[in-house]
Each structure stands twice: as structure tokens, then as C-alpha cells.
Symmetry: C2
Subunit: 149 residues, 2 copies
Amino acid sequence: MQRTSLAGMHCSVARTLDIIGEWWTPLIIRDAFVGQVRFDELQRSLGIARNVLADRLATLVAHGILERRRYDERPPRDEYVLTQKGRDLFPVIAAITAWGDRWTAGEAGPPLLLVHEPCGQAATVRTTCDQCGELVSLDNTSPTPGPGA
Amino acid sequence: MQRTSLAGMHCSVARTLDIIGEWWTPLIIRDAFVGQVRFDELQRSLGIARNVLADRLATLVAHGILERRRYDERPPRDEYVLTQKGRDLFPVIAAITAWGDRWTAGEAGPPLLLVHEPCGQAATVRTTCDQCGELVSLDNTSPTPGPGA
């Protein structure tokens, strides 16, 4: 099936999914966040076919989310390091994690906790306004056309 | 290609993507957030094949993210209303939007602004700690096994 490109939509959600929406990609980024950055580590962690993984990594490198670094020459071995653009995906993965902890973890509870080092507590992330610091939700926001509309 | 199920992974990111990771799904949720909830509206907005849209909506209904409501009988017409589980995806879409505004919008700027009604400002969302209220980032957090590990 021919996949439509979302990049042309005037929507930051669509444009972002065009880059990271592919099914495996957020899991690769999740692994990179916890330091699993070598090809073989990723392949083992995800149980993904090597050619599929190579393809997804190449896309992330092309979009400037990961940077490929050779860490061994004999045999040649690469690792994939997050750029600032990639590190900036943290809130996306954190929001996905928080939703999953609430709605998919069940009675067993969250598989992973996120310790916020400045306060030392296991944090559940909240989405707040950069202007006033208060909670942002579907109920208290309204979209309005921006400069790029 | 047979798609592996991610639901069995002990990871809230994987489990969530198993539900909402499919390519069109976050765009359907985005549309539902702005009140586009009728089948024909969604079909027009997304430019998606009717059978694909029907399939994605059925999955979201099965997972309790949308609820189907008949709004017209002759001819029969349905709309899809977000449940609490669906509304709780707001931080995910908001985080995707913020990343896209920063990294994909270019010089034109964000296509859409999000007005935070309590303060009246166009908000860029931040990810903060529910315990201390401070910013949460990749640099100041560390994952640790949770009860469901």
C-alpha cells in the first residue's frame, strides 16, 4: 500500500508523525533514552528484523534525530546517539508512558518509574503552561490559527 | 507482513503504541479533540479510505478510547465521542504538537496555537513533575523498575 505523506499537512501532529509515527520508531527512541544505542542491543531489545531496524535508523539519522557513530573498526560497529532534536522527544515518550501507566498497566502497576532527580521522587509527568505554570488540558485550552496556518 | 503485538512487552510505551501507535490513529484523536467526530468529517479531514477509517475507529471503540453514537437514523449516521481514556491522550498530542512546532514548522511558525484559557496566553506546553512542579527532562530523570516490572 502506498503511504501518503503527512508532511504537507499544515499540522505539527501530522508532520511529526510523518517522522516518528512509524510503529517501531518511538520504541527505538525509548531505547536510546535508556542508553541502548548499539545496533545489536536495539535489535535484541526490539526483536525486530535487521533490515527493518537498519531502515528505521537510517530515517532517524536522515531527520537529524540520531547521529551515527562508529565505535569499533574491526569488525565495523555503529551506535546511534540522540541529537538535541532527538532528546527533545522526551516529553512525547514521557506522555505516552504516563498514559500507558494509567490505562494499560492494570493492577500490576507501572513497569517502570521515572525518578525526578532534583526532588528525588517518582514522578508522574504533568503537562503545564509555560506562561503561567498551571495544568493544561483538553478542557481548558482552545486552538487558534497560528502564523504558519 | 505480520505485525508483532507489542502488548506483551513490559513497557507502557510499547503497550500504548499497540493501541494508538498506528499511523492514522493519533490524527483521528487530534480531529476528535477539535470536535471533528462524524465519520464524514473525519474522512474528509484525513483523506483516508473509508474502509481504513472504519477499521481504525472500530479499534479505538474496542479499546474504549472513542464511543460510537448514532446522531441520525435516516440515513444512519454515527459520530465518535472521546471517552475519559481518550481525553487523557491530550498530553500525548500536545507533546507531539510542541515538538513539531519546534522542529518541523520552520520559519512560517506553528500552524496552530493553543490558548490556555485560565491565563489567556498562547501556551507552549512543558512537562513537569507532579511532586515538585519543576521541569522534567531526559537530563534530570532516571528510570527505575516499578511494581509491574
